[in-house]
Every structure is written in structure tokens, then in C-alpha cells.
Symmetry: C2
Subunit: 629 residues, 2 copies
């Protein structure tokens, strides 16, 4: 399997696109004709530029409205093809894509189309070129790859083959098993695109909503496995039309695209159908057993305030680092670190973003294996400076450039706390608040990074994504999507902010950038926790009293329960699987905040309560009467 991407998939002018595609590690590139036409180098120049980047031109496309034309249009269409053949020879590519005719002038008939392709094959053969035929999902007469294949079969010409495109097949829910019987040498190239499942006009969906394999909801792995079952081991080539990608960073989108194909190939490689697929092996996705720790970077002043809050939340200082200014605070299975070092990455992060949760440690079975997979999927490694004898933990860069440490229970890495730290205790009286583990970590990102990080997490770790949910902030919509595993030991909510007046957008714009905006801890008894918090002097976020009348009526709650919820500023939700209680802190400065949840079978994240929580957080952020956000 080799990787390719169409120039139309990413933003920028032609040279910028090529540079980004080469840098991302692709083997080849499809030249989308308009990109070439708008560039003022000659076809030969373009071919040379591509090869100078170490890339192959996998395809020249699209050639539209070819088959089934009546005369005199038919003759003109063949003339047009000859012109394209000229350009292809100058470019130095041998394959052109003909997509099924959408012209009102086109005549139907499999044999008519097959005859046209036979003639085109003859002409192409004279020049040593090949023609691939693709069924557009909205083609006038041909909109199904099975019909396109029948035309190719009857055209019966070595220089005529089929081009498969996952979107065109999967958007129309065409049986993918029909691919398995196509001879592999007749599949000239395979184009890949995914898309979110939204029921809409196929052309509109295709032109605006396509995304990288694994970023959407289509069964692209099954599709590719069916392709691999033919023995096809050639290019998988991304052809993505997406308004957001067209306006995004060419470098970032190309990197996402390459990751998506490597991940796709790895999934398919593990399929018995795909024994012939050539690609590098890598470890399986890492199962995450829990959040090992969350580390905050802070200066001394902020650290003091943060320690006070952690203590009010029931955490105790349990250890301090032997050589660095780092403390561990613990409660239940939760470890939080505060790092006030004046040098190193934590300090650099503090300098840019202020006090923030800049690192998360994920507990996996084998940290080195997880690290290898991440690197194979293009993650950036993070190399830390450690003193002699101290533990070096494998780490990669995550959301906003923050760190993801990979720790395991079986290696000494899992015991780093005992090696690098010495026990410590403070003197205060802290009432334990029954917090047991991290329920979820909420990361806020710019909206156009959502797909990047969903793919990042899901490709490296054993996890799936939930459907996107709209969170209503008074200043705009925030999109929320969750990366989680079945056992619930990994739950990361990604919130994508479109404008800076939302709480999420403000967080990013103010200075924190994309990163952890809140951490939710789990308790088995929210009311016992609330009482203990009170005893510790913790100030919960005040929720509007109007909320409680509604929640009581909506769920038919016992009025006594409603009173208790209201007294402790606890939010309530319920689904078919159980109940959910939520209690919040205010924000630390204008940045992160804490949540405490009691999750009793419930599978969501309280999206229906978000508007009330956001309004309350925003109110707490501003001086009385003056809207700050």
C-alpha cells in the first residue's frame, strides 16, 4: 500500500501544497487540474517540481462528461481528451480519472459507454497512458461502481480500468462485497474519503463535508478490506473536499491525511482479507487503563492558590520531587502534580500559557509499545531532561503542544513516584471528599482542530468517538465530541470553539491556547462529597435557582432531592442507563476549573446542563453587573 493525496484536499498555492504533501510523508500526489491550471509553470515544470519533492504523480483528474455523448459533442470530447493526454505526457503521469457523465446531453447505455471507453483506451494505449473510470454518486446514468465496473469489463481494454472512491460507494450504501470480485489489475487507483453521517443531498455532502478516513462515520475500513481482498496493494489516495480543510493549515491537514491512511492501512492489515497488503507493522492501539496523573505548571504565587484549592477539594500533598520543584497531591486513585520549576518544559509552558494543566499521563499496558505506535502514526516525541538515576517517561506532544506521558504498571516507569519523589505531608486538617478517579478530562481546542485530535487519540489509543453534540454557550455554539473507551478508563471530551466570546473560545484566545479546560473527578456519593467540600471551605459554582424547578419537573424528582441539589449547587441528568450528578468549581483565574461527578451507569457528559454551567461560570468571571465576556 502506498499513500497519495489530491492537491485539492489542502489549502495553498501549488508549490505550498506540494511542500506540505511531501513533508507529511506521502508517496504520491494526484494533480487536480484547476490547481495546475492556475499555476503559471508549464506542465513539464510541474512534473519536475513534483519529482523534486520525491513524489510520484499518481493521477491527473478530473476529466468530466466523457462517455455516452451524441455527435458532435462526442468528437469534441475525444479531442478534449487528446489535449489532456498531451498535458499528462508533459507532466509525466500515465493515469487520468474520468468521472461518470453528469451532462444532460449524455445518453445512457452500458454498451455505448463501453464502446466509448474502448476507443479512448486505444488512443491512450498509443501514448502509453491509462484511463480510470469512476462512478460519481450523482452521475446522470452511472452512479454505482458496479455499473462502472460493467462498463470497464465490456470495454475490454488493457488501458481502461476502474477507479474506486469510498465516498461514492459508501454514501449510497452500495454493497462493498461487490468489490471483491473485481480483478486487482483492473483497479487503477483507490480514492479514500470519509464523511460525517448527515442525511443530505449527495453532491452537497461530498463537496463540503468529506473528511479524512477515520474522521467521519462511513465504514471506510470495511471498504478498504474489500479492496484489499482483491489483492490490490497500490495507492490509497485521499480526495477530500472540505471547506474547513481548504481554509486550514496545509501542513496540519496534510499530516492528518497521512496519519489517517497509515491508521487505515494498519486496521486493514489486521484483517484476514488483507494478507497481501504491504505496510510497516506497528503495535496495536494502546488500551488506556486510567489517568496516571495530571500535571500543572505554575509560578510560586499561583501554586500557592492552586494548592489551597486542591486541599479544599480534599487532596493531600503526599510527595515532593527529589531534584525538582514538583509536588504530588493525592486522593483516592487521583494524582495531581504541581510543577514550579524555573526551567524546563513546564516553565516554558507556564511562560506562554500561564498556570495550566500542561501534561496528562495515560496508563497503558506497555508504555514503549504505545510510544512506538504513536511515533509510527506521526506523533511528535517529547524528550525530557532528567537527572541521573531518575526515570525517563516516554512522552508525546498532544493538544496545544501539551504533553501526554505514557506510563505502565509493569515497568519501573509506573513506580516513578517512588524513585524520583520522597514522601511529604502537610499539617492542615483536610476532610477527604471521596474523590476516586478522574472521570474525564475536557480539552478545549479551536474548532478546526477537532478532527485532528479525534484522529490522534483514536489512532494511537484503543478508543472510539461519540457523536458530536452542540453545547449552547450564550455567545455561540461549541461542538463537543468525546474520545472514550468501553471500560470508561479513558474519557477525553474535546470542545471546539468557533468564536472567542464563548467561554471555550475565550479560554483559547485569552492566553491558554488549546488545552485542558477542566478535569472531572468521580465520587460515589455526591452529597457526602458536597458536605466534605463545605467542611474544607470549598466554594462551589453557584447555579441559577431557576434551573432546579425545571429539573424537578423534567425528571419528576422528589422535591426533597431537588432541595438537596439546589442547596449544594448540584446539576442533575439522567439517561436510559443511569443518573449523573455534577458539581463545579469556579475558574482558576480565567482558565481551568474542576468538576465533580457521580456517574451511576449514565453514559453521557451532562450536555443538557452545559448552558447552565457556562452561564454560571461566565457570571462568576465578571465583576458585578459588568459583563466581562
Amino acid at each position: 500500500m502506498k499513500t497519495s493525496i489530491a492537491t485539492v484536499s489542502i489549502s495553498g498555492e501549488f508549490p505550498e501544497k506540494l511542500a506540505a504533501i511531501a513533508a507529511a510523508g506521502f508517496d504520491g500526489v494526484e494533480i487536480f487540474e484547476n490547481d495546475f491550471l492556475a499555476f503559471d509553470g508549464s506542465p513539464a515544470d510541474v512534473g519536475r517540481m513534483v519529482r523534486d519533492h520525491g513524489l510520484e504523480i499518481t493521477l491527473f483528474q478530473p476529466f468530466r462528461d466523457f462517455e455516452g455523448m451524441p455527435e458532435p459533442l462526442r468528437s469534441r470530447t475525444f479531442d478534449r481528451a487528446e489535449r489532456k493526454f498531451d498535458i499528462m505526457q508533459q507532466l509525466g503521469t500515465d493515469l487520468v480519472l474520468v468521472c461518470s457523465n453528469v451532462s444532460p446531453a449524455a445518453l445512457g447505455g452500458i454498451d455505448r459507454a463501453a464502446a466509448d471507453f474502448h476507443e479512448l483506451g486505444e488512443r491512450a494505449a498509443k501514448r502509453g497512458l491509462k484511463v480510470g473510470y469512476e462512478a460519481l454518486a450523482w452521475g446522470r446514468h452511472i452512479n454505482d461502481h458496479r455499473d462502472a465496473w460493467e462498463i470497464v469489463r465490456r470495454a475490454d481494454h488493457a488501458n481502461i480500468g476502474i477507479i474506486l472512491d469510498s465516498f461514492h460507494t459508501l454514501s449510497r450504501k452500495i454493497d462493498i462485497n461487490s468489490i471483491r470480485s473485481i480483478p486487482k489489475e483492473k483497479i487503477f487507483i483507490v480514492q479514500m474519503a470519509d464523511a460525517p453521517l448527515i442525511d443530505m443531498d449527495l453532491l452537497y455532502w461530498s463537496r463540503h463535508f468529506r473528511n479524512m478516513p477515520g474522521e467521519g462515520d462511513l465504514p471506510v475500513v470495511d471498504f478498504t478490506a474489500a479492496v484489499a481482498a482483491t489483492g490490490y496493494d497500490g495507492y490509497l489516495s485521499l480526495e477530500i473536499f472540505n471547506d474547513q480543510f481548504r481554509g486550514g493549515s496545509a501542513k496540519a491537514i496534510a499530516a492528518d491525511g497521512h496519519r489517517s491512511l497509515i491508521y487505515l492501512g494498519d486496521q486493514v492489515r489486521r484483517n484476514p482479507d488483507a494478507s497481501t497488503l504491504t505496510m510497516a507493522e506497528m503495535p496495536e492501539r494502546a488500551a488506556v487503563k486510567g489517568i496516571g496523573f495530571v500535571e500543572f505548571s505554575a509560578d510560586e504565587a499561583d501554586a500557592e492558590n492552586l494548592e489551597k484549592i486542591l486541599k479544599a477539594l480534599g487532596f493531600r500533598r503526599t510527595a515532593t520531587h527529589r531534584s525538582k520543584k514538583v509536588s504530588i497531591f493525592e486522593q483516592g486513585g487521583i494524582r495531581l502534580l504541581i510543577n514550579t520549576e524555573q526551567q524546563g518544559f513546564a516553565n516554558a509552558s507556564f511562560a506562554v500559557h500561564g498556570t495550566s494543566a500542561y501534561a496528562i499521563a495515560l496508563m497503558v499496558d506497555d508504555a514503549q509499545q504505545a510510544f512506538s505506535r504513536a511515533i509510527a502514526l506521526g506523533a511528535d516525541p517529547f524528550i525530557q531532561q532528567v537527572a541521573d538515576g531518575e526515570v525517563e517517561i516516554p512522552a508525546i506532544r498532544g493538544v496545544g503542544g501539551g504533553l501526554i506521558y505514557l506510563i505502565d504498571a509493569n515497568s519501573e516507569l509506573g513506580r516513578f513516584a517512588e524513585i524520583d519523589f520522597r514522601p511529604a505531608t502537610d499539617d492542615e486538617k483536610i476532610v477527604p471528599t471521596h474523590l476516586q478517579h478522574v472521570d474525564h478530562v475536557a480539552q478545549t481546542v479551536a474548532y478546526d482542530e477537532m478532527l485532528t485530535w479525534l484522529l490522534f487519540y483514536n489512532s494511537i489509543f484503543e478508543a472510539h468517538k461519540t457523536p458530536m453534540v452542540d453545547i449552547i454557550d450564550p455567545a455561540g455554539v461549541v461542538r463537543s465530541q468525546v474520545v472514550e473507551n468501553i471500560s470508561g478508563t479513558l474519557r477525553i471530551t474535546l470542545n471546539g470553539a468557533e468564536n472567542r466570546r464563548t467561554l471555550a473560545g475565550h479560554f483559547i484566545a485569552e492566553k491558554f491556547g488549546s488545552g485542558v479546560q477542566h478535569i472531572a473527578f468521580h465520587t460515589d456519593d455526591i452529597f457526602a462529597t458536597a458536605a466534605a467540600l463545605r467542611a474544607n471551605g470549598f466554594q462551589p459554582l453557584t447555579i441559577s435557582p431557576n434551573y432546579y424547578g425545571d429539573v424537578e419537573a423534567r425528571f419528576g424528582l422528589d422535591p426533597d432531592l431537588t432541595e438537596r441539589l439546589k442547596a449544594d449547587n448540584i446539576l442533575y441528568d439522567r439517561d436510559d442507563h443511569g443518573e449523573y450528578f455534577q458539581l463545579y468549581s469556579s475558574t482558576f483565574g480565567e482558565g481551568f476549573f474542576f468538576e465533580i461527578v457521580q456517574r451511576s451507569g449514565y453514559r453521557g457528559y451532562g450536555a443538557a446542563n452545559a448552558i447552565f454551567r457556562i452561564a454560571a461560570l461566565k457570571k462568576a468571571l465578571r465583576p458585578e453587573g459588568v459583563p466581562k465576556l
Copy 2:
């Protein structure tokens, strides 16, 4: 007819929403329950705030999943309703919206639902409240206003009525004549929303794509005329779910909403069905006869350069202002003004935006009538300072705060050039270039202003909008939509830029703001014009040679014609109605540019050529080899 808007339609926290709604001139407001719940004032406080703004609460909504519930859910639902009634009485509103049940638990049956509503009517009547029933387009059993009406009819209770919503009816293409037979006293309120015609899932379409009446493609005027035929003369209330509006400026979106209802009411008032509709009269939409002039603000240095370009384009100085530093340049029917005054609005515009086309004069039949209509529709008047004896031209603020002068041929306003100016001539030899009139003016706006200005132009002037077209800039998609009249004497293309790396986005972000990015002049003979431009030393924008091979093949052009196009850097397009030739200047600084077109029956604006034009403009903007954008 009275105007209302649901709080959910605009952004902001509750007090900000109310202030924006009141400022826009609405008579009433629907309280969307979540907005109220998230706010921490009591219901009585909220009611007082609304009334303090001079607004009436027209509706409390939504009450979901009411009718057809089996026990024990049914009892709980009635309890829930009583709770809402409590809140309504505290708020001080007498009408609640019940939308058709979407719960899987709901049972069908018209009579069952009617019985439920009868009982609810009895309960409401005890408190002096009313309940309106609305059919959601995706309701489980009821998704058609005709069925909702049948339930209301059978409920047979004075306190139960129907609520019509244009989106729910029009999205499902339900015959609107079915509305005419509903007794007006049973229509408790009418909700209005439009939407662009995109074939997609109804719920997704409704939740994300609704827009203001007249901003979309639904037949909202026909719908409202059918409502008016019943004699209904109550509230038209906007209920708009739109992601862009949720994130936009509350003030601007509320103003658009109010304009949309006034415009809607005015269209309906002119309908014979709507004789009973109470609303202020205003003049009809003004027919635009042409572009009277375009005025540039500049400093002396830029003015000198701009004059050189205008002269190269074949324009001659024909007049100078008697009291101000303003010159008129003319050719054919085109007048361009350059204003270098050191004070006044032009200078203020120059100070902010640099040299730009800050004012356009539209020729209408009756300038005062057009001005009155504009003001009635909420346009901002512009009052200019003129010397004694000079002509004061009615003007309003348009895109980006620029001016739209309204001039007419029948009043002395049309002769202002003769009154305020004296003839002038320069000495140079200028070859006339056959330019005859302004073909179109292209205004670039932030994407989220597109709907604002489409509604602005279409409501004030006799014009229609064309479908939205995607313009592919290498750095992202730019949306283009045209305001034009049938005779072609008004053509304004609006280009909405989503990011600042597109040419359009760069124009806005750099300093020019929303405004005129290019002016297209019409010639009857593009080749004669090109020859004359050459003689005047005009440098056309250089188009990639790759373009010409494609355009020749695509349209089957005579190779001689292709050679001529290429020699003169002319772009070519064709539609079913005729041909289109385009020739461009480079940008003036990093700002506006000029286009010359020959339009022979052709109805578009060369969208297919835009990618080549944009690539060429961007190339011309940057020093060799260094991408500037």
C-alpha cells in the same frame, strides 16, 4: 401586525439579548425557556426586565412531549405543565407553546391528543392562560399543521389554539392554502423562519440553517399571505436557530430580524389577501436604473496614481468641484469621482481604510421615496455637510459603513454635477477604451455579514438574489452571491470571506474592511478595448498560460480566438445565454482592482474563472518568489 423574536435567535446572555431586541424595535419577545433558566433572576424579575424594555412577552416556549402520553407519564406531563403555568404567571405571559411530541413513548391518535389538550385547556383556563400547539416537521405522530389543527379543532376549547411556524410547514412542502380556512382567533401566534434550500435531514436543517424571512429560499411571503387571508393580524415572531447568528452580534442580528419582518409585512400588505393587515405604509422597492457614480477617497499621493490608472483605463477628467477637492472622471456612461478633501466623511474613511471606493450612487426614479423606504427598513441615514446652494443628496450607510447615494434623473439631484462642479479638461492624449457602463460592483464582506447585506439590498431596492456560488481561493472558500435586477442595471456581487488568507479575507483584514473590492466596466468589444488599453499603457493582470489550453478544449474555441485571448490576458466563459469576456487590472496597492467585461447575453459573473484570476492577483501582489498571502 406586530413583531416579535425568540430569545434563542440571537447571541448573548439574557439582559444583552433583551437590550438588543428592544433596540431593534421589536414589539415583543418569546422567552425561550433555557435562556430564562440559565439567568439567575426570578421569573418576576425577568417579566419586569422585559416590560422595562417596553416589550411584551409574546410566548413562553417550548413545552415538549406533552400529548398522547400513556400513564404514568401522562400524569407527570400534566404536573410538569402546571409548573410551567406557575412560571408563566410569575413572568406575566399568558401563552405557552406545546410542540408535537417526539417521544418514543408517545401514543398516536387524533382523539387521544385532542382529549389531552382539552384537559390542558381546562387547567390553563383556571389561570387565564392559553396553550398553542405546533406541529414539528419531525414530530413522532404529528408533523403537519393540518393534523395539529384537527387536534385543536377537536379539543374544542377556547384556551387551546394552533401555532403556525413557516419552517415546519414550508420545509415539508405542505399546501399553504390549508391555512386559509383556520379561524383567525384560533391562531395564537405565527412563528417565522426562512432557510436556504438544501436537501437534508429536517431536524438538522432546522437546528442549524434557519435564517430570517427573505434571507433564505422558502416561500415565506406566500405563507404569510395565507395567514393574513384568515384575518390574523397579530404577532409575527422570529424563531431562528442558526449557528452563525448564535455566535454573531446580538445587535446586528436583531436589527436584521426586525428588518426582515417589516419587509415581509410590506410584501404581504401589497397582497389582496392581506387587506386586514395593520402596518405602516412605505414606498415600493426602488428600481435602480444604473450606477450614477462611484467615489474614491484618497490622499494626494494616491490620487495621482489612481488618476493615472483611470486615464490608462480611458477615463478623462471632465469636472472639478466648486468648493471641494473632488474630480469627476468620465467615459461612456460611467462617472468616477476622486475625493481628496482633508475633512468630512471621505477623509474620515480614508483615515481608516486608505484609498478606497467608499461611496456608490444608485440612480432611482425618486430619490426621496427610496430614502424613505430605506429609513422605514432601518437603514442609517447619512447627513452630509454642503455649502450654501450646493445639492444635498439623500444617502444611507451601506456595506462597511460606506455610503450609498440615492440620485434621480427627474429632480435637480440628478444634475448635481452641473450645479456643484465646473468643467475641466486635462491635456493628455487618452485613447477611449469603449467602456460604456458599470457592469457590476463587487463588495467583499465578512462571511457572517452576507445575509445582512443581501436583505439590505433586496428589501430596499427592486432586486433578487442569485444562488450562492463557491469561489475557490487557494487559501479557502469564498462564498459569492449576487444582488441583481432583471434589466441588469443593478448588479452587486457580495463575496463573503471566511478567513484572512484568502484574497477577499486579506482585503478585509489588511485595513480596507468590508467594502468595494472591484468595479467591473462593460465594453461591447473586449478586443478593441484591449488594444486601446495597450495604447494607453495599461498593464493587464497576467493570466497563467495553462488556462488557455483548457479553455480552448473545454469550449471548443477556434485556436485563433484562444491566441487572441491569451495575448490580451482575457478570460472566457459561456452559458446557455451567451458569452463573457473578462480582463483585469492588478490591485491598487493591496486593495481594490478593476475588471472589464464584455457580456453578450451571459447571465453569470465568471465564477469558474475566479480561481485563475485570484491566483494571478495573489501572484502580482507578492515580490518574486516570496508568497505574501
